[in-house]
């Protein structure tokens, strides 16, 4: 029992200050210092505790602080406002309205976190402890039923029971593939060999996805406990967490968690006095996208270049150092303790026929409430984007959402009522992936989006298969040609044929799914491709070679702002007279459109 936690029993208010990566980058650690100074000034430091938590999820409005027990939710905090906040709320008991959240397009503030749509519509399983505990205090994890599932697994269940429970729960891999977790464990358990390994994949590489980082930052013990239960089921005694070197905060908290679990004997030899011994090592990834693929990840841990290899044999038969190995990602592991604690039926009671439980999604792009959400499978895209996500900012129209990262697809507005699960996303040409959702508005050019993701894959292809290595490069060349107005109609057939060849001829998931953004944008936004090719126009006004900037003389007030801000002196005109853009000088940077207060820059 450590002193800090014992101390906390005495406080009457707990300020749960978010210290996830996003809020830390908005100086939440500095806020803690200022808060504590102010509390001291008012002699409140023995009454009010400041607790650093993991990511709260509502990253759009950080730094975030929730004051418990009342659950008052403050956002966008600054150093300057802290003295006012301390005096009003903590001394005089008057929560500060102007720091509370006002939903988009509404006027009244919503004081309590539990009443804000962004939170109230979520169901937390993998993120169950986010914002509620200090991730660096193991006692706080234990107090929320932490390590109880491991105790149950070791004292009341056989390895077969554990696997049966996970199978019954319907849990599937949350890293992308969606393979049933219980069956995966069973393969590894049944594989011959006395040395077996567990790996936790925290090499989260999809642009815009950060749920694994957030889980490790907010609740590292949940991941460790899940792994220990999995190890018991499979018969492994050693594990590796493969974590990106770009995640220093997650790594720090994970190392601390391993240390405190060892101190308590929750890792190490003879856990809870049983014959079960389990140790966890950390392995730093250097940021190659392909390392998210199981066999590449194993190669990387072994110190070899991260290239995938043919399967079978699957890692369950011959994985790390040739031993049977089971890999799951962070979110999958974090679900395991809850399933053991609350039972498979509880978990299987959520979700759809084929996809049970909840899924964490990162909501990014053109969306009001950027952040991390956990929702039951089977929820519709419309609920996620418009009800939880608060819709598209600045009155723009929704155009598409890219799910599943660079290898996923773009889903158009006509499919917004699609209930989300592994199968339904595959059917519409996208995938679950790790749960990244990039929302796009009407100003997004879909050809440009496809180009962006293919460009990403060209960089990240490991180069082993020519279809992926060279095929992606050719896809990129064609897309670039189209964006430059040099596309031909035959290009569309070529894109399709080449995509099929890349899918067929590549060995790992990267190559097999890389053409998805091209195929899905061609399927749902063919008009836009044709506009680029036939009319030499970019309807969204993005592709520079196909657009022109000009000024609407009716609307222009001659304020000279755009003229002053134009970096290439391409705007001319007299004060209070309509200005003009000199097309031969204009570099189409878009600054004039951004600064114009009268909305008179036209892009065609």
């Amino acid at each position: 029992m450590n002193d800090q936690v014992q101390e906390q029993n005495k406080y009457r208010l707990h300020c749960m200050l978010c210290a996830g990566t996003a809020c830390v980058s908005m100086k939440s650690l500095r806020l803690k210092e200022v808060l504590e100074e102010e509390l001291k000034k008012h002699d409140l430091d023995k009454e009010v505790a400041v607790v650093l938590t993991g990511c709260n999820g509502f990253c759009a409005v950080g730094p975030i602080m929730t004051v418990m027990p009342d659950g008052i939710f403050y956002h966008s905090l600054t150093e300057e406002i802290i003295p006012h906040l301390v005096e009003e709320h903590f001394l005089k008991g008057r929560p500060v309205k102007k720091l509370m959240f006002t939903p988009p397009e509404e006027e009244e503030v919503v004081p309590k976190m539990s009443d804000i749509d962004f939170f109230s519509r979520q169901t937390l399983v993998a993120l169950r402890n986010r914002g509620l505990i200090d991730p660096e205090q193991i006692d706080e994890y234990i107090a929320r039923d932490g390590y109880k599932a491991l105790a149950k697994a070791l004292s009341e269940m056989t390895p077969e029971d554990i696997i049966e429970e996970i199978k019954k729960s319907g849990l599937r891999g949350r890293g992308g593939g969606g393979f049933p977790t219980g069956r995966k464990w069973e393969f590894c358990k049944n594989a011959p060999g006395d040395v077996k390994y567990i790996i936790c994949n925290c090499d989260e590489g999809d642009p815009g996805a950060y749920m694994d980082r957030s889980i490790v930052e907010a609740d590292p013990h949940a991941v460790l406990e899940g792994m220990a239960i999995g190890a018991r089921a499979i018969g492994a005694n050693e594990a590796y967490v493969y974590i990106r070197a770009e995640y220093p905060l997650a790594m720090k908290r994970l190392m601390l968690a391993i240390e405190s679990a060892k101190e308590y004997g929750l890792l190490g030899d003879n856990i809870f006095g049983t014959d079960f011994c389990f140790d966890v090592n950390i392995c730093h990834g250097a940021g190659a996208f392909v390392c998210g693929e199981e066999t590449s990840l194993i190669a990387s841990i072994e110190g070899r270049p991260p290239e995938p290899r043919q399967r079978p044999p699957f890692p369950a038969q011959s994985g790390l150092w040739g031993k049977p190995t089971n890999i799951n990602n962070v979110e999958t592991w974090a679900n395991v303790p809850s399933i053991i604690n609350r039972g498979a039926d509880w978990f299987a009671g959520m979700g759809t026929e084929t996809s049970k439980g909840t899924k964490v999604f990162s909501l990014v792009g053109k969306i009001a409430n950027t952040g991390l959400i956990e929702v039951p499978m089977g929820i519709t895209l419309r609920e996620i984007i418009f009800e939880i996500g608060g819709g598209i900012p600045n009155g723009k129209k929704f155009k598409a959402v890219q799910t599943g990262g660079p290898s996923g697809g773009c889903i158009p507005a006509s499919l917004l009522d699609l209930p989300i699960d592994y199968e339904s996303l595959n059917e519409v040409g996208s995938m679950m992936g790790s749960g990244g959702m990039i929302v796009m508005d009407e100003d997004t050019c879909m050809v440009d989006v496809a180009k962006y993701f293919i460009d990403f894959c060209v960089d990240e292809s490991c180069g082993k298969c020519s279809t992926c290595r060279d095929g992606s490069k050719v896809l990129l060349d064609i897309l670039e040609r189209i964006c430059h107005g040099e596309g031909k109609e035959e290009d569309l057939d070529l894109l399709e044929e080449l995509s099929a060849a890349i899918k067929d001829g590549s060995m790992c998931g990267l190559g097999q799914t890389l053409p998805n953004p091209v195929l899905s944008t061609m399927k749902y936004f063919k008009d836009e491709y044709l506009a680029h090719i036939r009319d030499k126009k970019c309807p969204a006004g993005v592709c520079k070679a196909l657009i022109q900037y000009c000024i609407d003389p009716e609307k222009c007030t001659g304020c000279t702002l755009c003229m002053r801000r134009c970096p290439s002196s391409a705007i001319v005109g007299e004060k209070k007279q309509p200005h003009k853009i000199l097309l031969d000088k204009c570099t189409k940077c878009g600054i004039c459109r951004d600064v114009c207060k009268f909305d008179c820059i036209i892009v065609e």
């Binding site: 009457r12 009342d70 509620l132």
Partner: protein, 127 residues
């Protein structure tokens, strides 16, 4: 640190219980001390401190202590509202440390309203 046994998990949970309950906003009873300028001037801080001491000394885990602004009846400060789960809130007025100790003992822990210090049962309606 000795290795934990399964039984130790409950022991740790029990010791952190007050923190856990408070974070979850769950408690059997809630005491609100009115801490407007008038309340503070009349000695609300002393009331708050007494309650904090009582809770710590008796190792009570299921009572939430919170503050709020002026209750509007400034002449009768210090004031506090006691709310037992499932029952109407009771407002107490003209508090002293002795009075609040008795209220804590009899009402918060014992469930019996201290009629002689109480102003009224119920709370104002919000429009």
């Amino acid at each position: 640190m000795a290795k934990l046994s399964i039984h130790d998990l409950d022991r740790i949970s029990e010791r952190v219980k007050r923190t856990t309950l408070l974070r979850e906003g769950a408690g059997r009873a809630k005491i609100t001390v009115h801490m407007g300028t008038c309340g503070i001037a009349a000695g609300a801080r002393k009331i708050m401190n007494t309650l904090m001491d009582e809770i710590a000394e008796r190792n009570i885990t299921d009572v939430i202590l919170t503050s709020s602004g002026c209750a509007g009846l400034c002449s009768r400060e210090p004031m506090a509202t006691v709310e037992i789960k499932g029952e109407a809130p009771v407002k107490y007025v003209d508090l002293t440390t002795d009075k609040i100790k008795r209220i804590f003992e009899e009402h918060v822990l014992g469930g019996k309203i201290v009629e002689e210090y109480a102003l009224a049962r119920g709370s104002e309606r919000m429009s």
